[in-house]
């Protein structure tokens, strides 16, 4: 294919010319009050079910309130075998990423594809808005962070809790106090209870094989995960109930719930060091029941996640908030006052336009949030306390835990 034909400007110019006398929208021609073609972003949606269209609509997010123009040039889904034309509709995301007229990609596949497609998209020079949860296991997140750094792309996860939280003055002060290192230790206990949809998003323990629907590329759906016999419960929203694709409602909803927590309490560059769970022995393939998980950070902060859906209620520690003044002391308060406030978080569309990298589009921050949930799930799956090195991002002295921190992938897929 001629690359010159595939540039964004070239594509739009060609489209306009091809339309001839047809009515040309103002946003294509440009002009006062309209977005000129060179400012219109070429977009692709990969994973068109469920959250797909909603995620695509977030590509133009702007702090001004007026969204940037994004034209959907390609839609890709492994369930499109019956309609793919490899021009606007695709089954294989690799063919989408080969197009140079696509600037931004919305990824709304099941999570076992999030990291790999995000990385591949950045390798193809695209900016990425990925649905939550960002990844399926810890090492995937580190690979996304490295890809973002290597290629200088914009990357965000479709969860926006930190945006609202960062507009509150008190939260900004807490964020500064932790991120600057002014608070070195804390006895704070943060307790998140309920809403993890544990039972709703459990997996089936008996799922007899069924014929693969003719429109579904099952091999590509499974991708880096084991090629299991097909069952419809493994596809669609119920994929959340299988370790092959996600980590149950905990990993799914948790990224929403903890996004603001991580930003406010400065957990953006670190991870829990001790994790302990209360749960029955885990099923090897299906996600299932758990009661609570304790995650302790090196500075003493204790994060408790409680499902409220199984077992005895959590009673080992009481919620304890942060008294910022007491934690800082007089000297610390003075130092905090002298520190500049962090820059406002940059919305995805604005970041694409300005190329401004910051906390709002740092893969690192989103990675550290979802790491909490991956570590919680490792403790649930192994049924014992684990210890974790937040710098090396490795389980300490625990082979079995490390095997879940960095999980094997089915060829040809790898990090």
């Amino acid at each position: 294919m001629d690359k010159k034909e595939l540039t964004r400007r070239g594509f739009l110019a060609g489209s306009a010319a091809a339309m001839g006398l047809a009515i040309v929208p103002r946003n294509v021609l440009g002009g006062e009050g309209a977005t000129p073609p060179s400012d219109t972003l070429g977009g692709a949606l990969i994973g068109a079910g469920g959250r797909g269209p909603g995620t695509f609509n977030e590509l133009g997010r702007s702090s001004s309130g007026k969204k940037h123009e994004v034209r959907r040039l390609a839609t890709c889904d492994v369930r499109y075998k019956d309609r793919a034309d490899n021009k606007t509709t695709y089954v294989d995301f690799r063919r989408v990423l080969e197009r140079s007229d696509i600037d931004v990609v919305a990824i709304a596949t099941p999570p076992h594809w999030h990291a790999l497609i995000s990385i591949a998209a950045m390798e193809a020079g695209k900016d990425v808005l990925c649905e939550k949860p960002m990844t399926r296991f810890v090492a995937e997140g580190r690979a996304v962070v490295e890809a973002q750094k290597r290629y200088g792309r914009i990357f965000q996860v479709g969860t926006f809790g930190r945006y609202g939280a960062s507009k509150d003055k008190g939260n900004v002060q807490r964020h500064k106090a932790f991120m600057s290192g002014l608070i070195k230790t804390t006895d704070m206990v943060y307790h998140a209870r309920g809403g993890f949809k544990v039972k709703e998003w459990s997996g089936m323990v008996v799922a007899p094989p069924q014929p693969v629907p003719p429109n579904l590329d099952w091999d590509l759906y499974c991708g880096p995960s084991p090629l299991r016999p097909y069952h419809p419960h493994r596809v669609g929203g119920t994929h959340r109930g299988y370790w092959d694709y996600e980590g149950g409602g905990l990993a799914d909803m948790g990224q929403h719930y903890l996004d603001a927590f991580c930003w406010i309490y400065g957990r953006e560059n670190t991870a829990p060091v001790e994790i302990e769970a209360y749960a029955p022995p885990a099923h090897p393939e299906a996600t299932g029941l758990w009661g609570w998980v304790e995650l302790r950070y090196a500075d003493g902060l204790l994060l408790v996640l409680e499902s409220g859906e199984w077992g005895k209620p959590y009673d080992r520690a009481k919620t304890k908030g942060l008294n910022l003044d007491a934690a800082l002391g007089e000297e610390g308060k003075k130092k905090l006052a002298e520190l500049p406030d962090p820059e406002p978080l940059v919305e995805f569309g604005d970041a694409v336009k300005t190329r401004k990298q910051g906390e709002g589009n740092s893969a690192e921050g989103f990675h550290r949030t979802v790491c909490i949930l991956h570590l919680a799930n490792i403790a649930i799956r192994l049924g014992r306390k684990i210890r974790f090195d937040p710098v090396k991002e490795q389980a300490i002295g625990d082979d079995e835990a490390q095997r879940l921190v960095n999980q094997p992938m089915r060829a040809p897929w790898h990090l």
């Binding site: 294919m1 690359k3 595939l6 540039t7 690799r94 990423l97 080969e98 140079s100 591949a120 390798e123 193809a124 020079g125 290597r150 290629y151 200088g152 792309r153 544990v198 039972k199 709703e200 459990s202 997996g203 089936m204 323990v205 008996v206 799922a207 007899p208 094989p209 084991p226 090629l227 016999p229 109930g241 749960a279 029955p280 022995p281 885990a282 099923h283 090897p284 299906a286 299932g288 029941l289 859906e309 199984w310 077992g311 799956r381 192994l382 049924g383 014992r384 082979d399 079995e400 095997r403 999980q407 094997p408 089915r410 060829a411 040809p412 790898h414």
Partner: protein, 318 residues
């Protein structure tokens, strides 16, 4: 060997599935809020509620009982190798029944127990018992499950048994996964299997030699970089990059100049990765060759981001 009644009774202590075929017991507790379902989803849930209970299941489900399950698994563990082999005998191909749901779960729970005991001998005995069954005539789905469990609880002692499956079209992937999870002793198995492997088995082996960053495989990987299969070629170049092999710089550059498309993108990534590895190893001159090549050849606007990445890398390499 017939499964003992005692073992069957212990396996029966594993949880019962609910009407959704899950361990969540939602209908018993009434905690699943069906009213949340919309449209067809809601209708489907109503239909399920009306559905007859699975045959052989008790009318009333008990909540998943952690203590009861753990006590039964501890008893199974006391049965030693015979109990492990008995559990394996109870596994069957996936069929439209729940015939092996309980032993399937019990075997995994036992794997978790032996990992938790901090008793190396117990873990090794468990893994060796599983590995002893890999060469038999059991269904491939059962063997794949044993590989999966060895990926949880196996160690170097089972690497040779897993290595024998690396040239089996149906089992090379689960065996490769288990070996990569185990790591210790895995590279030897991949190396030994590579000359006899083809198709997807060969691809899995080449890729995982890269995952393990096996420096002893450089020559074999360089050969695989010329394979007729594009996935194998890409995997080989990435593997050489991940190993950080300075001698493969010309091969990587040649691969990165592939025609525009997926292979060019992937091989360009491999070049950048190799350059990073070389910088980290203090081989800045070799890294600079890669960066310079990418900077000078990515002149089209569509590849400006690669040129910029190379320029950043070059600056760091100086």
């Amino acid at each position: 060997m017939p499964v003992s009644p005692e073992l069957k009774a212990l396996v029966d202590q594993m949880p019962d599935e609910d009407r959704r075929h899950m361990y969540s017991n939602v209908y018993e507790e009434g905690q699943f809020r069906r009213e949340k379902g919309r449209g067809k989803e809601k209708e489907k849930e109503k239909e399920k509620e009306k559905a007859p209970e699975p045959p052989g299941q008790p009318k009333s489900y008990k909540d998943v009982d952690k203590e009861r399950i753990e006590a039964a698994i501890a008893e199974i563990h006391k049965g030693g190798r015979d109990s492990i082999l008995g559990l394996i005998d109870m596994l069957v191909e996936p069929v439209a029944t729940n015939a092996d749901a309980k032993p399937h779960y019990a075997l995994h729970a036992l794997a978790l127990l032996v990992c938790r005991l901090e008793d190396r001998k117990a873990r090794v005995a468990f893994a060796e018992a599983l590995a002893s069954q890999l060469g038999g005539a059991r269904p491939k789905a059962v063997l794949a499950y044993l590989c999966q469990e060895l990926g949880t609880a196996g160690g170097k002692e089972v690497a040779p048994a897993l290595g024998k499956l690396l040239t089996d079209e149906e089992l090379c992937d689960p065996a490769a996964r288990a070996l990569v999870a185990i790591r210790e002793g895995a590279a030897e198995q991949f190396r030994a299997a590579l000359p006899n492997a083809s198709g997807k088995c060969k691809l899995a082996i080449v890729q995982n030699l890269g995952v393990l960053a096996d420096a002893e495989s450089v020559a074999a990987l360089q050969k695989a970089a010329g394979d007729s299969d594009p996935d194998t070629r890409m995997a080989a170049l990435w593997a050489l990059a991940n190993i950080g092999d300075a001698g493969s710089v010309p091969l990587l550059i040649k691969g990165a100049d592939a025609a525009p498309g997926w292979e060019r993108m992937q091989n360009t990534k491999a070049c950048l990765l190799l350059a990073e590895r070389l910088v980290a190893a203090g081989k800045k001159a070799e890294a600079a060759k890669l960066y310079t090549h990418l900077r000078d050849t990515r002149t089209d606007a569509a590849e400006r981001y690669v040129r910029e990445a190379a320029e950043r890398g070059l600056a760091a390499a100086r």
